[in-house]
Subunit: 238 residues, 2 copies
């Protein structure tokens, strides 16, 4: 097939959005888990709802609005200090343990990010994690003023990287993003990070219960991997 | 202002989507609550994601796909009997306790439903609940092949009812629907059914924690009511 470029989703795929949890625990006490879950769920909802209503705002604004909702729902006062620190936390999310090793091992390909994040958010994220030098391009959907899974977002990648659809492998662990990339026509590898056991369901599990499983949208990924480093043997075959 | 028509959302506003919970408990045991919550959350997600990807399927198909996801996430076997009975349950959801009284008291206005439900689902729902004679029109977004909050859905109401935007009051308890109707230009009354206490958050609360609160989308409703019968004094003023 001749893959020349590997395009990664950022939040949830390369970077762990749940890594703000420690900060949320510090700032919101026992409600830290709840705030973390609601924040991420609402953040995604707002990207979808704003795209549907054609009322685009950038991901920093969406993330801020989602945080306000999450704090109100958890009955935590939305003080400027709390908001500022949590928002800043989004600029230094932890990469998953295998992220750096996987990217290093794939360097003979063009590596890129295609993310909902604003250009500024993504720039800080890759700088703070020390991964910036590994990427040929860091593409924000802000250029299209739509959010994933709208096709206009995925359409940004080929032009930015100078490759054709068939030369590009798209990598995401978000089910809606897998579906969106497949819908657009990309070949997709799904990083299946696994859902929690539903035996004692608490809100702490909500995000993974809702997202850590293949979506029923009729757009299955071509490849299913457990972690980013599994891309290395896959790319040898493609 | 001269309101001539009152247009209601169906699921969550006139009819309690949580009323399938008893059936889910019977069919899914201790996972009934989890299945009920995930089912509704995924059902809405899939309406948004399909609209964003321009891959419309009707609400019966979307509801079925969401149920498959929910059962898989809860590790409940998706037997035909279980699926059939839960799907049938969606055709006889219980109206909220005040629904019939509120509609009766508002009969001097044209009353209508504008819902994501397919035409067949809505027809059975209003028949099974005995409320069919109260509605001038039961409008399915299926005519627009988009889901709320896409503007094409709301645009169906004026033509179907022969009224102008300013003669129409839109009523919903779903925050995304309030935002969508306001975005389209309708006057909106939000039935604020209230969110649960977040002190002991379990998945049982997820739906209400995520939906039972005003959205942070910059599209606040003009009126906030506690229950449908509060529309009666409001309409006297309008």
């Amino acid at each position: 097939m001749g893959i020349r470029a590997i395009v990664f989703d950022a939040y949830g795929t390369l970077y762990d959005v749940q890594s703000v949890r420690l900060l949320a625990d510090e700032l919101c006490g026992a409600q830290g888990a709840l705030v973390t879950q609601l924040w991420r769920l609402k953040q995604l909802e707002y990207t979808w709802l704003r795209t549907l209503m054609d009322r685009y705002e950038d991901f920093w604004q969406v993330t801020h609005a989602a945080l306000l909702f999450a704090l109100a729902a958890a009955r935590i006062e939305a003080t400027p200090a709390r908001i500022d620190r949590l928002m800043e936390g989004y600029l230094s999310l932890a990469p998953y343990p295998e992220t750096a090793a996987a990217l290093e091992a794939l360097r003979q390909h063009k590596l890129a990010i295609l993310s909902n994040g604003s250009a500024t958010m993504l720039e800080k994220l890759v700088l703070n994690s020390g991964l910036a030098p590994l990427f040929t391009e860091v593409i924000s959907v802000d250029r299209a003023r739509h959010y994933k899974p709208h096709p206009a977002c995925y359409a940004l990648a080929e032009a930015a990287l100078g490759v054709t659809k068939s030369e590009l492998l798209f990598v995401s662990s978000n089910g809606f993003d897998v579906a969106g990339a497949r819908n657009y026509g990309f070949t997709v590898a799904w990083i299946e990070r696994g859902a929690p056991q539903p035996d004692i369901p608490t809100l702490r599990d909500t995000y993974r219960l809702l997202r850590g499983r293949e979506e029923q949208l009729g757009l299955a990924p071509e490849y299913r991997l457990q972690r980013l480093t599994d891309l290395v043997p896959l790319l040898r075959q493609l």
